[in-house]
């Protein structure tokens, strides 16, 4: 299977703190790959390093065969990477519709994708004119994902989509992500191991800024020792 994203031994600094100290992630085309690890392990930082928000100081990020590390983050994103950040980052002063429109990379993106997005998240339809602040947590999460779907993205980086959501909504979210995985590749950061194990085909465990283990999710589910060691009791 072809590799769409290959993160090779990246080291990232925030200020003078050496946060990532050698992270390797290989993401096969068309798969869902989960980044696992305890709080503060460096999962979010890995995603941000891929998209260039915290550019790695060493190592390589190869996306669709080209090295993109060190490039400006909007250039990287414009190559077709969608980012759904940890705390959703909905723009408060924009309406829901504007939150979607702003993500257009080519004029007309929004109109082209609107129906697809409404199919995926029917709730959004009636919220279009509300301001970003008026949404509930779950609606914000839907909007954040929808926003990443507006432009033509080949790779989605989704950070903790289930955070703070009710079980029913998590169900819905999982279905949506599975649907998305049909035509794009997804890198998923997920604290909830149950959710991650159901969604992802592959996994990478990050521990204190290093990737320590990677492989098939099926194998990890049976590897109770690793789960216990790296992810705490789960």
């Amino acid at each position: 299977m072809e590799t769409i994203l290959d993160v090779q031994n990246i080291h990232t600094f925030i200020g003078q703190y050496h946060i990532l100290q050698g992270v390797n992630v290989r993401v096969p085309q068309g798969s869902i790959t989960a980044l696992l690890g305890r709080n503060g392990a460096g999962k979010t930082t890995t995603l941000k390093s891929i998209i260039g928000l915290t550019p790695p100081r060493e190592g390589k990020v190869i996306y669709e065969g080209k090295e993109v590390q060190g490039a400006r983050s909007f250039d990287i994103a414009a190559k077709g990477i969608g980012f759904v950040p940890e705390h959703r980052a909905i723009f408060r002063d924009l309406t829901v519709e504007e939150n979607l429109k702003i993500a257009e990379r080519v004029k007309g993106d929004y109109l082209r994708k609107r129906d697809f997005i409404f199919d995926l998240f029917p709730d959004l339809k009636r919220l279009m004119t509300l301001s970003g602040t008026a949404l509930s947590g779950g609606q914000q999460q839907m909007l954040a994902i929808a926003r990443a779907l507006v432009p033509e993205n080949h790779l989605l980086l989704i950070d903790e989509p289930s955070e703070g959501l009710a079980p029913v909504i998590i169900e819905h979210m999982m279905k949506a992500i599975q649907l998305l995985a049909k035509d794009s590749t997804i890198v998923l950061v997920e604290q909830n191991f149950l959710v991650a194990s159901q969604l992802a085909e592959y996994y990478v465990i990050i521990e204190e800024g290093r990737s320590v283990q990677a492989g098939n999710m099926k194998d990890l589910v049976n590897d109770k020792a690793a789960i216990h060691r790296y992810l705490g009791a789960a």
Partner: protein, 514 residues
């Protein structure tokens, strides 16, 4: 409605108090005084708004407190004056300016070029310095020898004051065209271009942060256009000058306004991309930097235009007199372009008290539309809240930063040139207006656009009412004493208002709570 009332009780009470104060102020004076004072307040408010709105846009999106904003307002006025009173100087400047800019227009090309060439480490360190230094030397050598017909600050007969005075009385002092000294024209032109490219290259090497992925061909087009402009303005210098000098003062004023605004915007873009950008990681230093720029700007103005104050003539459209003037109705005014018009018995200056507020309202609405209706506005509103996320969507926020900085400074410069015919030009004009703008923003809410407008109008009105009462005096109730506020009370009163409002509402009237 109820929740709205509950949430905004303090705000509403404050606004009501201000309104009551205003009505009380209106009671104390005759109708004609009231009308004039009101319009003057709006006029000062509009100018304040032009400075304040740009400042607050910049602060909102970039988090940069541009303390040089007042100085840039002043520079806008002086640039506009130059175009209006000395079009020949303006035309002379076009060629070297286009050449100097052309090197910087190439922008993204340099970092790419730098990655193609492999340097040794020590060379890599020295190279930027060497390039910038060579560029400065070249500029320093060529520019003094380049012919620009200019006034003479040291000689009263040829100083800006005299030129202004003569222009006001409708004559132009004859100007001797300047000529190249000790340097041949082609050498000077090519030298300027070279210096510009070297300088831009050097500066680009200094902030070697992230690299662009591919070349942008638009850069080469703008480079070519600038070169063409330089060449054309050089060849047709004389005819261009003649054309401008022959224009009516109205059209010349329009050109002056455009040039001042655009140069302000260009200056803003330049400042942001060269000086402010390296300091986004050190915000306090940005503050200090803009402070330093403000001091430098004033010194530059002093060196070029001199210290004495002078006035800028009003365009003929607002300067008519005699006949039926002051006009009593619109038709009379239109036919004679009277400088004043009678409104409810008050004698109102059309330019100062009607034209400026109208421009203020137009700008208010257009910026509002820009923010609410365009994609750029959407990006700005989003960027104010979360820059990283906007960037992660694939939008070049840096470029938006530069645009907003340019927009903000352009607005200040527009304010400057509009203010010039009414306030006159002085080295201190920026400072006092900037203070007004700061107070207006503190009152209205630092990053709130409608707040900037509200605060500016309040500041303008309060100042003008106090000035008026300084002339007519306030009868203190139940006594015979007539209290006349003295001029120092004018700024003091607005500051007082600011302090009071900040104590009640720390984020200003319309500012959002943190």
């Amino acid at each position: 409605m109820n929740t709205f009332l509950r949430k905004n009780t303090v705000l509403l009470i404050t606004l009501a108090a201000i309104l009551a104060l205003f009505i009380a102020a209106a009671q104390g004076m005759e109708k004609k005084d009231f009308v004039i004072t009101l319009l003057r307040g709006l006029s000062v408010g509009s100018l304040t708004f032009l400075v304040a709105s740009g400042f607050s846009l910049i602060f909102g999106l970039l988090d940069v407190l541009n303390l040089a904003h007042g100085t840039l307002f002043m520079i806008g006025a002086y640039i506009g004056w130059t175009v209006f009173v000395r079009p020949d100087t303006f035309v002379d400047l076009l060629t070297p300016l286009a050449l100097i800019l052309s090197g910087f227009a190439l922008g993204d090309v340099y970092p790419l070029l730098a990655t193609r060439i492999r340097f040794g480490l020590s060379l890599k360190r020295i190279l930027p310095w060497a390039l910038v230094f060579t560029s400065i030397l070249l500029f320093g050598w060529i520019l003094p020898r380049y012919p620009i017909a200019i006034w003479n600050v040291g000689n009263y007969g040829q100083s800006p004051v005299t030129y202004s005075f003569m222009a006001d009385s409708g004559t132009r002092l004859p100007v001797l065209p300047a000529a190249f000294t000790e340097i041949s024209a082609p050498l000077a032109l090519i030298g300027l271009l070279l210096a510009s490219i070297l300088g831009a290259f050097g500066l680009a090497l200094f902030n070697n942060t992230a690299q662009p992925l591919k070349l942008n061909w638009k850069k080469f087009i703008s480079f070519a256009i600038l070169l063409l402009v330089a060449l054309l303005t050089f060849i047709f210098n004389d005819s261009l000058t003649a054309a401008l000098t022959g224009l009516s003062s109205n059209w010349l004023f329009v050109i002056a306004v455009l040039v001042a605004t655009l140069s302000g915007a260009g200056l803003g873009a330049l400042i942001e991309s060269t000086l402010i950008r390296p300091l986004y990681i050190r915000p306090i230093y940005q503050l200090m930097l803009t402070l330093g720029m403000s001091a430098i700007g004033i010194e530059i103005v002093r060196a070029i235009w001199g210290r004495p104050e002078f006035v800028m003539p009003k365009p003929a459209f607002f300067n008519g007199s005699g006949g039926v003037c002051p006009a009593t109705n619109f038709a009379d005014w239109w036919a004679n372009n009277c400088s004043t018009i009678l409104l409810l018995d008050g004698r109102v200056r059309v330019y100062n008290e009607i034209f400026i507020p109208i421009v203020g309202v137009i700008v208010l609405i257009s910026i509002w539309m820009l923010l609410q209706r365009t994609r750029l506005g959407m990006v700005i509103r989003a960027g104010v809240q979360d820059r990283e996320m906007v960037e992660a969507l694939g939008i070049n926020v840096r470029r938006v930063f530069t645009m907003v900085f340019a927009l903000g400074v352009g607005l200040a410069a527009l304010g400057g040139i509009l203010a010039a015919p009414s306030m006159g030009l002085s080295n201190a004009m920026g400072e006092s207006l900037f203070l007004n703008a700061l107070i207006a923003l503190a009152i209205g809410g630092l990053t709130n656009y409608p707040g900037a407008a509200l605060g500016s109008v309040l500041v303008g009105l309060i100042q003008q009412f106090i000035i008026k009462y300084g002339q007519i005096g306030i009868a203190i109730p139940f006594t015979d004493i007539i209290f006349k506020p003295t001029p120092p009370l004018v700024p003091a009163s607005t500051v007082l208002l600011m302090v009071i409002i900040l104590l009640i509402l720390p984020n200003g009237l319309l500012g959002k709570k943190e």
